[in-house]
Amino acid sequence: MVSSECERVIGLSAISVRSLTKYYGRTRGIENIDLDVEKGEIFGFIGPNGAGKSTTIRLLMQLIFPTSGTMRVLGEEIRGDNPRLRRRIGYLPGEVSYYSDLTGRQLLTFIAGAYGLEGLGRIEEYSERLSLDLSKTVKSYSLGNRKKLALVHALMHDPELLILDEPTTGLDPLMQAVFFDMIKERRDAGATVFLSTHVLSEVDKVCDRVAIIRNGSLVSVSKVSEVPGRDHRRIEVTFKEPGNLIERFDLARIDPDVVYEAGVHRFKVSGEINDALRALAEHPVSDLIVRLPSLEELFMEFYKDDNAAETNGR
C-alpha cells in the first residue's frame, strides 16, 4: 500500500527509484537506492569512481536492467525496453562515441530522424551556440567537439528530463559557460536535470540538491546549501611571527586537527566562531580569512574520513 505522502512525492518526481539494486553476477553495482528527483530541479549526483553513478544512469536509460527494485521516470514505471519514454529524455553519456565516418550533420540528422524531428532547426541553433562545425567527420573531432555533438544530441528534442554524465569534460571554460546557460534555459522551461559529475564546483554552481553515492549506496541527499558540514567554517590565519606556532600558541585548543601549510595555519570550526577568533586575537595576526567550506572540501573530507574508518575497521 503506497501512502498518500509517497503518492504525492511520486507525482512530483521526475525520477523516483525504490530499493534499486543491480548486481553484475556477484559484483555489486548499486544496492537499495531510494531516490526522488523533483520535476524542474537540477539534481547533482556525485561520488568517486566505481561508486555506482554510471550504473544508476545506465539503469535509468534502460541500457541495463535492475536485479531488484523499481524505477519510475516521468511518471512511467520502467519495465524493460521503453523507447516511448526515452523520447522524453535527453542523455549525455560520460564517454562519447559515435559513428566516426559520418559528418556531424549526417549523424545528427540520423539521430533527429530517430526522434521523429523534422528539419535541423534546434540542431543548427545549438551547434552555432556551441561553435560546432557540423561539416566535419566525427573522427576528426576533438574530445571537446565530440562532447558538443553529444550535447546537441541530448538537447535537440527539448527533453523533459536531461540525464548528463560528466557533461563538461573536454569543454573549455567558455563553452562550459554556454553549456550551463543552455541547461538553465531547459530548467526554466520546466525540464529536470540529473547531473552526474566529479567537478563539485559545478554542483555548487547550478544544482538545487545533491546526492552522494558511495560503494553502491546513497549516503546523503540534501540541498546543496545543507550538505553535512556546510555550516562549518574554515579559518586561515597568518601570524606576524613566522613558522609553525601550533604548539607554542596552543592552537589545538581551537581545533585539534589544525594544520600548518606554507606559512598558514588552517582551522575547521563548527558552530560559534567567536571563541576561536578571541583565541586567535591573543597573538599578533597579519592576515585572517574566514570562509564556508567548498563542496569539494566537504566531499574530500567525507571520503577521507570514510576510507580511514574502513581501513581501521579491517
Binding site: Y24, S54, R58, M61, Q62, L63, I64, F65, G80, D81, P83, R84, R86, R87, I89, Y91, P93, E95, V96, S97, Y98, Y99, S100, D101, L102, F110, I111, G113, A114, Y115, G116, A150, H153
Partner: protein
C-alpha cells in the same frame, strides 16, 4: 519493428562491405564461369573420374555432371561462393550488437527512442540487402560470363544453385544473430564467424573420406543443400532450403529476443 533511419544508416555503414564483397564474389564467379569450357572437356572429366571420391566430395565435384556448365558451377565455384558469402553473412550477423559495444556506440544507439527489437531487425534488414545484392550480382556475373564464353544450357538451374547457396549463407547469418548479444568485441565476432564457416566447410569436406565419419557432415551447414541435384535437373532440395531459411529466422528472432532482455555491456 522496422526503423527506416536505422536501416539506411546501417546500409550506409555497410557500403564498403557491399562494394568489396560484391566485386570480389562477382569476379570470382565470373572467373569460374570463364574457365568452364576448359574444365568441362571430356578428357578433363575422365581425369577427374580417377581422383579419390573423398577428394571430389570435399569440393562438391560430381564427375558425372562435370561435362556441363551447370555441373562445373555446382562444384568448387559453389563451395567458394558459399564460403565467402557465408563468412560475410555470419560476420554481419555476429557484429550486429558486438560492433556497437566494441566501438562504444551502443550508448548512443540503444538509448535512441527506437526499441531494441526494431534496431536489431532494421540492422538485419540492411544485412539482408547486402547479402542479397552480392548474391544477385554473383549469379548475374556467372551467367553473363557463362553465356559469353561457354555453353549455358540451363540458366535456371544455375540461378537456383546460387539461390540455394544464398539460403545456406543466410543460415550462417542466423547463427551470427544468435551469438551477437553474447559478444562484446568485433574481432571476436569476426573470428568466430570465420571459424564457424570454415569448421562447417571442413566437416562437410572430410565427411566423405570414410563411410564411418559421414555423420559428421550433419554438423555442417554446407550439408543442408545438395546443389548437384539441381545441376542434374532432378529436383530442388526444398527441405534443405526450408531448413536453411528456418535456421536464419530462428537465429534472427532468437537473437533479437535475447538482445531485448539482456544488459548492454559498457
Amino acid at each position: 519493428m522496422f526503423h527506416k533511419g536505422i536501416f539506411l544508416n546501417e546500409l550506409y555503414r555497410s557500403r564498403k562491405t557491399l562494394l568489396v564483397n560484391s566485386i570480389v564474389l562477382a569476379l570470382l564467379m565470373a572467373v569460374f564461369a570463364g574457365f568452364s569450357d576448359m574444365v568441362t572437356r571430356e578428357d578433363f572429366v575422365s581425369l577427374l573420374k580417377t581422383y579419390p571420391q573423398s577428394l571430389l566430395e570435399a569440393f562438391n565435384i560430381d564427375p558425372d555432371i562435370m561435362g556441363t556448365f551447370e555441373g562445373w558451377m555446382a562444384g568448387e565455384a559453389y563451395v567458394m561462393y558459399v564460403l565467402i558469402l557465408g563468412i560475410v553473412a555470419a560476420m554481419m550477423g555476429s557484429s550486429t550488437v558486438a560492433k556497437e559495444v566494441d566501438q562504444h556506440t551502443s550508448e548512443a544507439v540503444f538509448t535512441l527512442p527506437v526499441s531494441r527489437k526494431a534496431v536489431f531487425l532494421s540492422k538485419a534488414a540492411s544485412h539482408l540487402m547486402v547479402i542479397t545484392v552480392s548474391a544477385l550480382l554473383s549469379t548475374a556475373a556467372s551467367l553473363i560470363t557463362g553465356f559469353a564464353v561457354a555453353h549455358v544450357a540451363y540458366p535456371g538451374r544455375v540461378a537456383l544453385m546460387f539461390a540455394g547457396g544464398y539460403l545456406v549463407s543466410l543460415a550462417f547469418a542466423g547463427v551470427g544473430y544468435a551469438a551477437t548479444s553474447f559478444l562484446d568485441s568485433d574481432r571476436t565476432a569476426m573470428s568466430l564467424s570465420i571459424g564457424f564457416v570454415l569448421i562447417s566447410f571442413t566437416l562437410n569436406a572430410f565427411s566423405g573420406m570414410s563411410e564411418s565419419i559421414r555423420w559428421v557432415a550433419n554438423g555442417s551447414l554446407f550439408h543442408l543443400l545438395d546443389v548437384t541435384v539441381i545441376a542434374r535437373g532432378d529436383s530442388f532440395p526444398a527441405v534443405g532450403a526450408l531448413v536453411s531459411a528456418l535456421i536464419y529466422l530462428a537465429g534472427l528472432f532468437g537473437g533479437m529476443l535475447v538482445f531485448s532482455k539482456r544488459d548492454i555491456a559498457a
